[in-house]
Symmetry: C2
Amino acid sequence: MGNKISDERKKEIIDGFYHLSKQNGIENTSIAKIGKHLGMPPSLVMHYFPSREILISNLISFILERMLLIYQPMLAELEEQNYADPHTFVDRLFSRDWNLLLDDGVFYSCYSLIFRNKRIKNEYRALHEKLRENLKEILDRDENLEDKDTELLAEQIFVVVEGAYYYLSMFDDPEVYEQKVAIFKDQVYELLRKNEVLSS
Amino acid sequence: MGNKISDERKKEIIDGFYHLSKQNGIENTSIAKIGKHLGMPPSLVMHYFPSREILISNLISFILERMLLIYQPMLAELEEQNYADPHTFVDRLFSRDWNLLLDDGVFYSCYSLIFRNKRIKNEYRALHEKLRENLKEILDRDENLEDKDTELLAEQIFVVVEGAYYYLSMFDDPEVYEQKVAIFKDQVYELLRKNEVLSS
DNA sequence: CGATATATTGAACGTTCATTCAATATTATA
DNA sequence: TATAATATTGAATGAACGTTCAATATATCG
C-alpha cells in the first residue's frame, strides 16, 4: 500500500536524526547535518519532513516505539504461556539491555519537551500508561496475586523503576550502580511480597 | 568583597535566562534574546559570561541552588527543634510549592545534559546526594526509627519521590494528579511504617 | 583631580540555521 | 511508450546564531 521509497527514506532520516542526536544532542542536530550524514541535500530531508517540528515529532514516535520494543519478548512469553513471572519482568526492567536499544540522553531530551508541547505530553503519557497496563496483565495472571489491586501495584512498581532510572543515570561507577540497582530491585520485590498470598 | 555591579548584573542575566527558558526552552533562548529582554546589548551578556557554555553552566548552578532552597524551611526547623516530622517532610516533598520555585521544564532540560557533560552530571549527582543526606538526618532524629538503616530508607523514599515527579508531570487533570499523588505518598508512608517501631 | 579599572555600547564578523524554489532525474501508471 | 507522479538535486534566501572588537562612558581609588 504505502510508498516504498518514501517510507524507507523516512525511516533512514529518522534513524540518522536519532544517531546524531545520541552523539551531539537533539538541539545540535540540524537538518543540514542529517543530510550530510546521509549523503543527501537538506532539501530532500525537508521533502519528507516539511518542518523541523515535524521531524522532532517523528523522532519522538520512533523513540516511544523503541521503548515498547524492549518489552516485546516478555509480552510474547505472556501470550504463549499465558503466564510470565513478575520477578523476571522486574529483572528485565532493571537490566541494562535497555540502554542498547534506547539512548537515555535522547529519551530525556524528548521527555523535557512535554512541558511545552501538549501533543508530546499526551504521547508520553499514553506510552507510560501502556507500560503499566502490560505489567498489570502479567500481575493478573499470577495466582499469588489473586484479587489484589494489580493496577495500583503496577503503578507503584513503575514509579520505583522510573525513579531509579532517573537517579541511576547520575552514576558511572559500575560497582556503585549495581549496588543501587540491587536496592531498588529489592524495593520492588518487597512491593510484590507484601501483596502475595503466602503459599509455601 | 566581590564587585557589586558585576554580581548584580550576573544575577540579572541568569534570572533572565531562566525566565526566557521557562517560556521557550533553553535551546530557543539565545544570548541576543536575553540581552533584548534585559535591555542590554548581547556583548554585555558575553562580557559577564564569555561563552554560551558558561552561561548554561551558571543556569544549572542557579537551578540546583533553587532546588536546595525548597528544603530550607524544613531544615531550619530541624536545626531549631532538633527534630522534624518525617511525614511532614514527605508531604512537603509532594507539595506543589515546588513548582512555584522551580520550573520542571527547565529542570529536566538541564537534567538531560548530564548524558553529554560530565561536570553537569557530577553537579546533579552531588545535589541528589545532598537531598538524601538531609532526609537521613531527619530520619536519624526520629526515635521510631532508632537503629534503622536510614541511609537506605532515604534512598528508597527519594526514588519514589523522583519517579513520582517524573510520571506526574504527564498529567494535567488536577483530579487525576491528586489521586496519583495520594498513591505515591502512601507508598512512602508504607516505607516509613515498615521501619517504625510499634509504639502505640 | 588624574589615572586606572570596570561597565557599556554598537557595529561587524563569518557561520549556520530552517526553509524555498525551480530544475532535473527517476519511477510508476495508463 | 507517453504521461503523470514522485524523488532528488543544488542554489539561494534572509534571519538568527555565537562571538569579537574597538570605542566610549562610568565608577573606583590613589
